[in-house]
Subunit: 380 residues, 2 copies
């Protein structure tokens, strides 16, 4: 049998978690990993060591037998990679036409405005005057680099322009361009995830609530507790609209703010996303299987939840250095432990735990308790 080959750029936990889905489907997963110690190095069917900025590494990733498609587990893909893929006749999904909206927050905000989708107030910022004008109107706001930010990096809350002098100087000198967004008085954060194939089939998962701590996702509850049917439908519709309008292929996560007045778009991610890890254990089709299906233009799988409630709790680096010991310590038989084979550093995402259940509060507590045991050892 000649299996399809999916090439993935990036060797983190998102690529790692594609491997089980690929194995089940008989798909060969060939991954460009940053080093042979990368999270995805061991799990991948074929690991190519190198960086996406290295033409030789890309050539090895695209070598014969050629992959059927190349995809990404992060957005930091040089434009040249797309040219090389095209020259090799390997489709790149999502393509640059879509991915640039996940790479660049200014392009994203402008496009959402064009589409009439709900943005917070925002504007691009090049000078102190730009920023002062915006702050005068909106008060303390969120300054962001257009590119390169993640997990709270590339984000700064400012109340006067002088607090942004270094970033503005950097931008003027060729560094990342900046935008400012009004601080949204949100009641909570939601995420709507959708998959879309090149043929145009789309499927959305139940909308989730995401809890962030220090700018990093901490827990995700599926479905979002107490979310009205109407608002859930609106969130799913926004995700479908974005996916179709931008020509996304693969999975797309739309992070949303819920406010008293409705939903606002926070961020886009065109890849499997932390807000969708719950789908591995909690949905008929995981975001990782769906991403592989979508980029290969296969029929998409059922996105229904398997249980009334699913809670995913991230494990950030803490007291425990060798996480392997946590497998013996987590005695909750329903706690699905996922370890990423990454060295532990404080605050680094090194694993997650998922629990499914019939009661939202109890399921949440169990997931959080198990994640704490993985992180720190002993009783939570």
């Amino acid at each position: 049998m000649t299996p399809p080959i999916v090439a993935v750029i990036g060797g983190g936990q998102l690529a790692r978690m594609m491997a089980p889905a690929a194995t089940a489907l008989g798909i060969t997963l060939r991954v460009l990993v940053e080093s042979d110690q990368a999270s995805a190095a061991e799990s991948s069917h074929e690991a190519v060591v190198g960086l996406p900025t290295d033409p030789d590494a890309i050539a090895r990733l695209l070598a014969v037998p050629r992959p059927d498609v190349v995809t990404w587990e992060h957005e930091h893909i040089p434009a040249e990679v797309f040219e090389v893929c095209e020259a090799a006749g390997v489709p790149a999904r999502p393509g640059l036409g879509a991915l640039r909206f996940a790479q660049d927050k200014i392009e994203m905000r402008a496009r959402m405005d064009e589409l009439g989708l709900p943005n917070p107030a925002w504007r691009p910022v090049a000078t102190m005057e730009d920023l002062d004008g915006f702050l005068a109107e909106h008060g303390p706001s969120v300054l962001k680099t257009a590119r390169g930010g993640y997990d709270g990096k590339g984000v700064r809350v400012v109340s006067e322009a002088s607090q942004a002098r270094d970033w503005l100087e950097s931008a003027a000198g060729g560094g990342p361009r900046l935008l400012v967004e009004a601080k949204v008085p949100f009641t909570r954060e939601l995420a709507a995830q959708v998959a879309r194939t090149p043929s145009g089939e789309t499927r959305t998962w139940p909308v989730v609530e995401s809890v962030q701590r220090d700018g990093v996702c901490s827990e995700v509850t599926a479905p979002a507790p107490g979310l009205s049917d109407e608002r859930a439908a609106q969130a799913r519709s926004i995700a479908e609209h974005v996916a179709a309008a931008l020509g996304v292929t693969g999975v797309l996560a739309v992070e949303l703010f819920e406010t008293e007045d409705g939903l606002l778009i926070n961020e886009l991610a065109m890849r499997p996303h932390n807000s969708g890890h719950w789908t591995i254990d909690g949905a008929v089709t995981s975001q990782f299987e769906q991403h592989l299906r979508a980029v290969l233009d296969l029929p998409l799988g059922d996105t229904s939840a398997l249980a009334p409630w699913t809670v995913m709790a991230n494990v950030l680096g803490g007291a425990r250095v060798n996480l392997a010991g946590s497998l013996a310590d987590v005695v909750d038989p329903g706690a699905k432990v996922h370890l990423y084979a990454k060295s532990v550093r404080p605050g680094r995402k090194v694993g997650h735990v998922t629990v499914t259940g019939a009661d939202a509060r109890q399921t949440y507590d169990r997931a959080v308790a198990a994640a704490a045991i993985v992180r720190d050892g002993g009783a939570a």
Copy 2:
């Protein structure tokens, strides 16, 4: 992080399906595969090519960094392997003390008798007279080789001893010993699966109904439709009794005949088993994750079903030669397709499909239809 290393002997689909569970748990799976084309070769974190009869291959499997444990995906393990593992200080689970009862049907039957567990009428057979005596009492019966049989091989229905002349001559000449079992007037076949750790924790899954065609498992329905609570409890209890009495470590499948008078033991398998494939998509903890947990003496996972009904349908080699094409043809979004990356030969197990649902009949029909599409292509 220093992950646990589990070494597995055998490179078929059972070893292949351990890989996703190992990846999730951050366990390194090192597999002795028969060739680099074996089903498990690509999916394994570390593949060692060789046969279990090759001391050099076993040495490479046990090389430093030493595995924490060695286990098997089939029962055909030479006794010498256990000695080498012991010399290397690597626990072998299940150990030979348990595994011999899965390797040898005469030992198994004798031990079940000793334990007072329900056997069909049987006896070891060395001569025509032995066999004739049994047939005179029980009528047409099932002659089996004590060792080496699987999937209908090593089994022959005989009504007179002359039909067994070749096997008896082979046995007398040093070939596999023989036993004969009364043909059981069963109403259906069931399977009870249990996992047991070296510490003695056991967990059983819901009892399933297994449909065989031509001696090979065709479909499995979980739970077994219409099975009384009392009989389900009895089946689970038999599995626990066998696991504890034989000192099984890992997963054990007890195949059972259901008759009008009750349950009878058919076969034992001390490894993940076809009757448990449904657990990947249909249970909180799959048999593959549980096997890894059990052989590493970790706490066992919840064995509850995720849906009212789960049906697993095997894909045996049929009209379709390149199974990869089936991924596009199976349009049922709830059909979980599993392909084993094996070349297609008529009747060979090359994949399976699992469907979960709220209605037993509909779930069954969907699984069978999807498996037929994988096997033969086109509409079922």
